[in-house]
């Protein structure tokens, strides 16, 4: 039997080899006459062993590139080769073993910890192996050489050899896996049997050795391991071109052993790395695989392409892992595994009509109505006209969507047919031929048919549809019998895995957030809080109890502050008054001293009780502890305020409140109702809330979700509104100070869609005084802040809407204070024309109007110079609901425009805000 097979083997190998006949022949010879050429061969062995690796790589690369039918086969060949080689090498002298060690060591770095563990141990064991091998290896050396040669030849011979070696040595080594790896496994199955019996003396020796050693399974195990190392080493060199990302294929440790801890538990569940095939027990899997960001891969395998043979198991994990991590985590990992980019089919390994796919083509192929099922790396042919799809050299296996722009023109021999009948320029196979005959189509005289996607066929050169192929019932039956494809009416039947493939990319995308975020930002006193509150009232987002309570606190505290300011003023008034009285009394000395006294008292002085309250309050304000005491102390001091309010002296001062510059304008609104507000049961009305300074005591971030109600006002834009009535907006109001120095925290708002920057128009003559006593114009400060916001990287590319607030106050102020007070506006010199001919725009626009336009243009120029984009400007009066509504709707429009940007020219739209500015 063996001799028969021996004679067969070289032949078969020669057949299966499509190259390097010499090698295979040499190999076969070596096997046969092991003795004679020893003297010649031995010197070659050592150098070859070291140098052969690179040369082998070159050869393999060339092969894989030029001859594409091999990629599937090669790994197996190699694997077996290496097993073989390793085996033989172990029988060799210790010198080669050292080389081996180096190899394995060099490899350790890449393989990672798991590999390292092995390598260390394998070192020991291989020594032992080596010794054993030498003891027995009388005939070893020549065989070694033969084996080595076989590996380089990458012949099938090697495969079968290695295959049965492993069968013999480690009885449990998975033949199945190898078969998995190779679909060719079946065809080799035949070979493996004969070779088993055929295998040369050394293989038999090994078998003997194993059996002789009885229970020393570990030896076997580590042999495998080592083969694994050398092999992986080889793959590093051999395969960089075809599978650049492919990890070393870890050959399995003996079945049932964990790759990490090497403990044996045949029955405990294990998880397999989808890249290298290493198996881990439940104790080690977490440490070896970590958090599994790309699914079940060893940490060192992360980033590498998965083993294609394991593609089917993507997303399916063992029960052990489920138990270990829990459902949630598993779900997460499995999703990651399926959707991770690295785990996708490598498009460049899929050839359609000899052309490797690009990623776009792959996506197109997978997302078409009828995608090819079970797409694997390999070569396919595709008939673009009819949609026939099959593996290169095989009959069609499926009919996919036609007319996909994938691959080159189909080759005539794509399906390796020999019937001389052509369909769409492809010579059809026997099965198809029978199918055509079954369909009653005459195929005499080597006809050339054109078959379209719907099955209608015609002869080449004839503009006449002869019939529809798929309409015939017999065709369906014949197709089923011949396992030929039949077009499916239902799209995507049974294409689950493809679904997975294509959907996974989308599934990872975070759900689209339809919320539009408006960031409202501004300096102190720029009215952002008013706009915010106005928006809440406008779009009916009621204030919660807590918020009301908060605002109540703010209002009450402010009230005390106002009172304190008035009281402070009183001191001044009182002094002035005293001086005046003294002067008066000096002017006309008389007996009316007592009445003077009364007069003075009546004017600005308090009763001792109020006096003490007054000084207490002032002291609090001075020490900055007003806020600590006040919200809490309202109960106590509420009657005091009432008393104070009723006091004539206080009223007298109150009448002169306009002389107190520190008192803000809104103070009047609250002071008029001081008694009511100071009460404990005071409930702020909406108006009160609107007028209150600030939103919360801390003046932090406030946000509100709202949607624009349909209003009659925007009838003109109704048509465009229809498609997004429910888009919700979020208005986020941020105080400048809460962004920190250099706007450090602005990055928190990187997801906003529109930035609304609010500037108070009245700022132009107002000043800050910082701690150094340096006065800064508020408008300039606002400008500076604007610059820093606009140029902040976080907000680059965002749209900006400038709101010029407090227009009502500007109208008042502009009459008193010229705009040129601010350096930035020094060239504002409106020509007040009295000519009535410019009647188009509200007849000679008022000064405030012009000032507004001027300021708007200044800001626009600034913005333009900073970003080279357009700034949108809106005018606003915070206390008027309508104007706030208008401004926010304007913001909404800006967002809409930005969406429509591609179709509509922006310039056109923005003229609305630009055109008045040009009129100045």
């Amino acid at each position: 039997m063996t001799s028969v097979l021996r004679s067969i083997l070289p032949v078969s190998s020669a057949k299966s080899e499509d190259h390097d006949d010499d090698y295979s022949v040499e190999y076969s010879f070596a096997m046969e006459y092991s003795g004679p050429p020893v003297s010649q061969d031995i010197p070659q062995v050592a150098p070859v062993d070291v140098h052969r690796i690179p040369t082998a790589a070159v050869a393999a690369r060339g092969v894989t590139l030029s001859n594409l039918s091999l990629p599937v086969i090669q790994p197996i060949v190699k694997k077996s080769d290496h097993q073989n080689q390793k085996l033989l090498e172990e029988l060799k002298s210790s010198g080669s073993k050292v080389a081996n060690h180096q190899v394995s060591k060099a490899h350790v770095g890449k393989i990672g910890s798991s590999a390292r563990v092995y390598s260390r141990k394998s070192g020991n064991f291989s020594y032992r192996d080596g010794e054993l091998a030498i003891e027995e290896g009388g005939n070893g050396e020549s065989n070694v050489f033969g084996g080595a040669q076989s590996s380089s030849s990458s012949g099938t011979m090697g495969f079968s050899d290695g295959h049965d070696d492993s069968n013999h040595l480690s009885e449990s080594s998975d033949v199945e896996e190898l078969d998995d790896n190779l679909k060719a496994g079946v065809s080799y199955g035949d070979c493996s049997n004969p070779t088993t019996s055929n295998s040369n003396e050394d293989a038999e020796d090994c078998v003997d050795e194993v059996s002789g050693q009885g229970h020393r399974t570990s030896v076997v195990t580590f042999r495998d391991l080592q083969s694994n190392d050398s092999m992986s080493e080889q793959t590093d060199h051999d395969e960089p071109e075809i599978l650049p990302e492919r990890r070393v294929v870890l050959d399995d440790v003996k079945k049932g052993l964990c790759h990490r801890c090497c403990k044996k538990n045949r029955f405990a569940g294990k998880e397999v790395c989808i890249v290298c095939g290493a198996k881990y027990c439940s104790k080690c899997v977490i440490k070896a695989m970590g958090s599994m960001p790309e699914g079940r891969k060893c940490i060192t395998c992360i980033g590498y392409r998965i083993d294609e043979s394991k593609r089917g198991s993507l997303g399916k994990c063992s029960r052990m892992l489920k138990r270990l991590l829990g459902d949630e985590a598993i779900k997460q990992i499995m999703i990651a595994e399926i959707s991770c980019e690295v785990n996708q089919l490598p498009p460049h390994l899929i050839f359609v009509n000899d052309k490797p796919l690009s990623i776009e083509e792959l996506v197109m192929l997978q997302s078409c109505a009828n995608p090819p099922k079970k797409l694997r790396p390999g070569k396919y042919w595709y008939d673009k006209v009819s949609g026939f799809w099959g593996k290169d050299g095989e009959q069609p296996c499926q009919i996919i969507s036609a007319h996909l722009a994938v691959g080159y023109q189909i080759r005539q021999d794509a399906s390796n047919g020999n019937t001389n009948v052509m369909i769409n320029n492809r010579e059809i196979t026997k099965a198809e031929f029978w199918m055509l005959q079954a369909a009653g189509i005459h195929c005499e005289g080597n006809p050339h048919f054109w078959v379209t996607a719907d099955g209608s066929y015609q002869l080449e050169g004839m503009n006449y549809v002869m019939g529809k192929l798929w309409d015939k019932k017999r065709v369906r039956i014949v197709c089923a019998a011949l396992s030929l494809p039949f077009p499916s009416d239902i799209t995507n039947t049974g294409g689950e895995d493809i679904d997975d493939n294509s959907n996974k990319i989308n599934s990872k995308n975070p759900e689209q957030d339809t919320k539009n975020r408006l960031l409202l930002i501004g300096c102190d006193q720029s009215g952002t809080s008013t706009i915010y509150k106005q928006a809440r009232i406008l779009y009916s987002v009621p204030f919660s109890e807590d918020e009301k309570q908060n605002i109540k606190t703010v209002i009450q505290r402010n009230l005390y502050r106002y009172i304190a300011i008035i009281l402070e003023g009183r001191e001044r008034f009182e002094e002035d008054h005293m001086i005046e009285i003294r002067r008066r009394s000096a002017d006309e000395p008389g007996p009316s001293g007592s009445s003077d006294q009364v007069d003075k008292k009546n004017a600005y002085s308090f009763s001792p009780r109020l006096e003490s309250f007054s000084s207490f309050l002032l002291q609090l304000v001075m020490s900055g502890e007003l806020e600590v005491i006040f919200p809490a102390a309202t109960r106590v001091y509420s009657p005091m305020v009432e008393e104070l309010w009723k006091d004539k002296a206080f009223q007298a001062i109150y009448k002169r409140r306009n002389e107190l510059h520190l008192l803000p304008r809104v103070a009047n609104y609250f002071l008029d109702r001081a008694v009511e507000i100071s009460r404990i049961d005071y409930e702020p009305s909406e108006m009160d809330i609107l007028y209150a300074e600030g939103i919360t005591s801390s003046n932090g971030v406030a946000s509100v979700d709202f949607s624009f109600p349909k209003s009659s006002q925007d009838g003109y834009m109704e048509s465009s509104d229809q498609n997004d009535p429910s888009i919700s907006y979020q208005l986020i109001r941020v105080h400048a100070s809460s962004l920190g120095e250099n706007c450090k925290w602005l990055e928190m708002f990187e997801d906003v869609d529109l930035v609304i920057y609010s500037v108070s128009l009245t700022d132009y003559d107002e000043y800050y005084e910082d701690i150094n006593g340096v006065r800064t114009n508020k408008m300039l400060a606002a400008k500076k802040f604007f610059e820093s916001i606009v140029t902040h990287p976080t907000l680059a590319e965002k749209h900006f809407l400038l709101i010029l607030n407090k227009f009502d106050l500007l109208e008042e102020k502009i009459e008193r204070v010229p705009l040129t007070q601010c350096d930035w506006f020094h060239d504002f010199n409106p020509v007040i024309s009295l000519h009535p001919h410019s009647a188009t725009s509200s007849n000679n626009p008022p000064l405030a109007q012009r000032a507004f336009h001027y300021i708007a243009v200044q800001f626009k120029r600034l913005f333009q110079s900073l970003t080279e984009r357009k700034l949108f400007v809106s005018r606003l009066t915070g206390l008027e609901a309508d104007s706030v509504d208008k401004a926010l709707r304007y913001g909404k429009e800006i967002l809409k425009w930005s969406e429509e940007r591609n179709t509509v020219s922006l310039n056109e739209w923005s003229t609305e805000s630009m055109e008045p500015s040009t009129s100045v």
């Binding site: 990672g112 980033g303 001075m622």
Partner: protein, 441 residues
Amino acid sequence: MSVLAELKQRHVAATETLNALKAKLKQKRLLLLDTDVAGYARSQGKTPVTFGPTDLVCCRTLQGHTGKVYSLDWTPEKNRIVSASQDGRLIVWNALTSQKTHAIKLPCAWVMTCAFSPGGQSVACGGLDSVCSIFNLNSPNDKDGNLPVSRMLTGHKGYVSSCQYVPDEETHLITASGDQTCVLWDITTGLKTSVFGGEFQSGHTGDVLRYVTYLFSAFTNVYLEMISAAFLASMFVLGFSVSINGSNSRMFVSSSCDSTVRLWDTRVASRAVRSFHGHEGDVNTVRFFPDGNRFGTGSDDGTCRLFDIRTGHQLQEYSRPHGENEVPHVTSIAFSISGRLLFAGYTMVIAMYGTLYWQRYVVFFSEWCFNSYRPSTVMNVYMYDALFTFQLKFLNQQVVLNLGSLQTSHYGRISCLGLSGDGSALCTGSWDTSLKVSCDL
């Protein structure tokens, strides 16, 4: 007017004197640094820690946030993590199983910091709403299924950038805020116990000097500035981060955008015990060294530094090589239990045609080259003290392991990191919305 001019003059003169003194101090300090720690360590036969790529393995990815993760904290004993994210949630995780035990919806989504109480019963968070909110994890959910806020600590006038519980005190918490103050809170009452820094020194004992100071300022801010520069020493603290000394909970350090770090004693609110200069950018993070006599800082200038609180010296500077225009900021640091390792989270900005990239690094710096880095061998306190008889000089730092090179790294900027109580695991939070827990094998 003449008074003002005179005051200004005096102010200028005082500033000059101050600067001269500072320079002198610096010089003196440099003179005192005469020994090289690296050399010393070498002479002791200590070798740098080495790490293999798989020695620190990312074991868990905690996914659940939908926004950038800004902060995280571990419970001191159990393996739980609280994380704060821009999606407006705090999530309490079990780091072992990666399960979420609580998801707390926050009233304000812009949260910057979070902390676990020492007992693990409650969590605190703070952010742009200028409020520090305390959640009791044991309280029942309200009708909307949200965990109610059990206490709001209001009073800050700027964002709360950092909060931390006083070790072993469930009821005391220190916050750092953008209003340039740090505040020690009593959680049970919700009131400030003391305020550190800021313009007005607060506290419940008003003292005359302070009042005088205030009156001064009422007349002239200029003069106040002078005084403050001289002895208030904390005028411009923009608190970013605060760390409380583990061994002496009365001491804490705060770091600031004025590129200084200040050491405070909670019993003395009026002024900082010491301020530490050296950084050339905002100091984003500060952590006490395990022995409590040193602390580490991380800054926008791309360096981490180690300072000694007793001498005020900078002991060591750790920096990575980087290009001219791309200084990676240190966002967060942590020390290993033994102090042998310093973990630093980096960001890197590459400005390119107006677009912004964030790259991530987790870099491990080799540090004191003494014992094993293992948490079990905490001999370092002794070692350091012994060492301190020598004056220290900067030693050569060495990157032990760059986690960023591993594929287990984040896809976004790393914003925070923290070491578990027993030192066996490191958690990092990132702008890629996930947290990762790495275990030391």
